[in-house]
């Protein structure tokens, strides 16, 4: 049992009037819990409980005047007399608390060595485009990084072991493959087809020589097809000399030796025959296989009229000749049978316009139509 007397509610006031009780006998209260509202001369003041415990007796009713220091409330039992303010554990703000215990999952980071492919995102993109498997390439860039060049090279590099029954490409076949891939990567091909009417030909024309002459003639008229194009520099070079690459087939594969200055070469037939022999003997000198400014593929020996032969960079044009045939044509409003020679002109549209190709083809055909 403990009696709580009315404290001084402010600056020496003698008494106060009970306005409202907030507790009744039997209530359990905490420290600072408001017990009663008392009115003084100044204001209505809440009187907080000094202790925690059970209320025993209230010493007054509403409107009663209680002297400062007189009995106000008797506590039946006290559980705590310490007005302990809860320690906020801070001097500013609010620190959130928890009681949940969590395990520590953090571990010091274990270092292991890297197994990654070293290629920049740009190079990876290129590899994706070119269908190259980066894991098969050894980089030649800084710190063995794979470069774009490495990727391009790998398009002609063998990157996998052939399966059983596959015969790896070798020699000339392999070379052809590489040339074709390179062409495919660079050239933007377009083709014009036409037929030349060679009914006027005198007897015993050397077909190949006639074609070569027609080509050199066309090169003179429209030199933009007798040119090289440099993709890196985006520049072209026109030639006056026609160094004609002549496609010659063999058991080994395709060879394209170069006939220099075909525009005024009196030894054409001899050169061609020599090349044919050399190809057969596999004795053709390497330097004869490069430097062509324009190429000729007489593919129609056995069959085939038109085709889209492959332009080999840095050249910008190739002429494909198909099988000469007898055809029904309209000539001076009559249907007649003339010998026709099918011509396919494939050009690199990066460096040659359609107009140029068309003019070239016209000139070529005009020359071919001549009697001799």
């Amino acid at each position: 049992m403990k009696v709580f007397n009315l404290p001084d509610l402010g600056e020496g006031l003698p008494d106060a009037q009970i306005r409202e009780w907030h507790v009744k006998p039997g209530d359990i209260v905490e420290i600072d819990q408001p017990l009663v509202a008392m009115e003084t001369a100044k204001a209505v003041v809440e009187v907080p409980s000094p202790w925690a415990g059970e209320i025993g007796e209230l010493h007054g009713s509403v409107d009663d005047i209680i002297d400062t220091g007189a009995q106000l409330v008797t506590f039946k039992t006290i559980t705590s007399t310490h007005a302990e303010k809860k320690d906020t554990g801070t001097v500013v703000g609010h620190i959130e608390r928890t009681n949940a215990v969590v395990p520590e999952t953090a571990q010091v980071f274990e270092r292991t060595s890297s197994q990654n492919i070293k290629a920049t995102p740009a190079v990876k993109q290129l590899a994706k485009q070119l269908n190259v498997d980066l894991t098969q390439i050894t980089g030649t860039g800084p710190n063995n990084t794979i470069t774009a060049q490495d990727v391009k090279q790998a398009t002609t590099q063998v990157s996998a072991k052939p399966a059983a029954d596959f015969e790896p490409l070798k020699g000339v076949r392999r070379s052809m493959m590489q040339t074709m891939v390179k062409s495919h990567q660079e050239i933007v091909p377009a083709t014009i087809f036409d037929e030349a009417d060679i009914a006027a030909w005198a007897d015993n024309q050397d077909i190949t020589l006639r074609i070569i002459r027609a080509i050199t003639h066309a090169c003179k008229i429209e030199p933009s097809l007798n040119a090289w194009y440099d993709s890196a520099a985006q520049a072209r070079k026109l030639f006056t000399d026609v160094n004609l690459g002549l496609a010659i087939d063999s058991d080994e594969g395709l060879f394209v030796p170069v006939i220099e200055k075909a525009q005024n070469n009196s030894e054409l037939r001899n050169i061609i025959n020599t090349y044919k022999t050399q190809v057969k003997n596999r004795s053709i000198p390497t330097e004869k296989l490069s430097g062509a400014t324009i190429s000729l593929s007489n593919f129609g020996v056995f069959a085939g009229q038109f085709a889209t032969p492959v332009v080999v960079p840095p050249q910008v044009a190739i002429i494909g000749i198909g099988k000469i045939k007898d055809a029904a044509v309209v000539y001076q409003e009559q249907i007649v049978v003339h010998k026709m020679i099918p011509i396919s002109l494939t050009f690199d549209h990066r460096a040659v316009t359609g107009g140029e190709a068309s003019r070239f083809l016209y000139a070529l055909m005009q020359d071919l139509k001549e009697a001799n």
Binding site: E11, G12, K42, A83, K85, D87, V91, V92, G93, H94
Partner: protein, 363 residues
């Protein structure tokens, strides 16, 4: 053989008061302190200070305001100093000087807003030249010196009053400030609220100086001690000091002795370190009680006036609470809008990110 030397410098620090703890005059009051209206105004503002302050603590306890530094028991300093300042004077406070803010026309709402976590609390409506509160201790002393320099440069007759706590006088910034104020004869008054506690560190552990006013001696700046719970002593000393400062005599220090009858902030618990008997003993030094007793003894105050005052103060505080609680939120972009005079380019993108994350676009 005795060594000859001569004293080349001495100092004396005076202590003054007009009213003792019971409110009895300890000496004749000067004329300016006999004016009934002046005295009543001082009383009213101390009552306002205590009431709004208690309300602030209550707001914090009920989660309606953030951490708040109370000025309970120290009202005579803010009110007394503020009463002696003139319009155009600049206040560079620390954070317990609410009384000065109020008596010079500042609003309660501004104080509630700041501690309620809203920067608009520092955008004073009337006291346009005043600095906002200073949380980094003693940093304000140097600002005061800068403001004083500007005033001196422009040859104005305005004065700067800067406040600091006892703990703050240990900071380097304070010493640098008084030194410069001294050597440049700047128009600045340093008011030290010596409430004997710097959070939990008592004055005896802060310094071995007998007074804090004497720290000015190290800077060649005059200083005095007053009873910080006697608002008459505080206001008179301030009045006299500001007069001399305006006349160009240089800076001055007033150390007002009081006691921190509250926690450092609402999050602190002073019961952990303030000896209860010490706290108890200071209750009778209460500044409001003492002035009331004096006013009553001079027949300048009665129960009726007391009742009326408290009713009026209660209403004023209620209105301020209402204004504080009903102010519309700042727009989220306010985070960016006051960083620079014109928002730089690289922040426009960040402001957009903020807006995008709110899910709405504003003009």
């Amino acid at each position: 053989m005795s060594i000859q030397s001569q004293t080349v410098a001495e100092f004396a620090i005076t202590y003054s008061r007009f009213l003792d703890a019971e409110g009895h005059p300890t000496q004749d009051l000067p004329e300016s302190l006999k004016n009934a209206d002046t005295l009543r105004k001082l009383y009213e503002y101390m009552v306002l200070n205590r009431t709004f302050d208690a309300k602030a603590v209550a707001l914090q306890r009920t989660g309606k305001m953030g951490t708040y530094p109370s000025s309970a028991g120290q009202e005579a300093i803010g009110v007394g100093v503020g009463a002696a300042m003139q319009e155009g004077d600049v206040s560079v406070p620390y954070y317990r000087d609410h009384g000065a803010h109020l008596i010079r026309g500042g609003s309660i709402e501004e104080i509630y807003l700041l501690w309620g976590g809203d920067e608009r609390g520092n955008d004073y409506a009337t006291l346009k030249q005043d600095f906002p509160v200073a949380v980094p201790i003693a940093s304000q002393s140097l600002h005061a010196v800068g403001v004083a320099k500007a005033i001196q440069y422009r040859k104005q007759s305005r004065a700067v009053v800067t406040f600091i706590g006892d703990g703050g006088t240990s900071e380097g910034d304070f010493y640098e400030a008084i030194n410069l104020a001294g050597v440049w004869k700047l128009p600045v008054l340093f008011v030290i609220n010596n409430n004997f506690w710097a959070i939990s560190v008592p004055l005896s552990e802060q310094t071995i100086c007998k007074t804090l006013a004497q720290k000015g001696i190290a800077a060649g700046v005059s200083g005095e001690q007053v009873d910080g719970n006697d608002v008459l002593a505080v206001t008179y000393a301030t009045e006299q000091a500001l007069k001399r400062i305006r006349e160009g005599h240089g800076p001055h220090i007033i150390e007002a002795l009081t006691y921190r009858m509250c926690d450092h902030t609402t999050a602190d618990d002073a019961k952990r370190y303030q000896p209860p008997e010490e706290v108890e003993s200071y209750k009778k030094e209460d500044p409001i009680l003492r002035l009331r007793n004096y006013l009553v003894s001079q027949n300048l105050w009665d129960e009726e006036q007391e009742k009326t005052l408290y009713a009026r103060v209660k209403q004023t505080v209620e209105q301020a609470v209402h204004a504080y609680e009903s102010i519309p939120d700042q727009p989220p972009t306010a985070i960016f809008d006051y960083l620079y005079a014109t928002l730089p380019h690289d922040l426009i993108e960040q402001r957009d990110i903020l807006l995008a994350n709110l899910g709405a676009h504003h003009e």
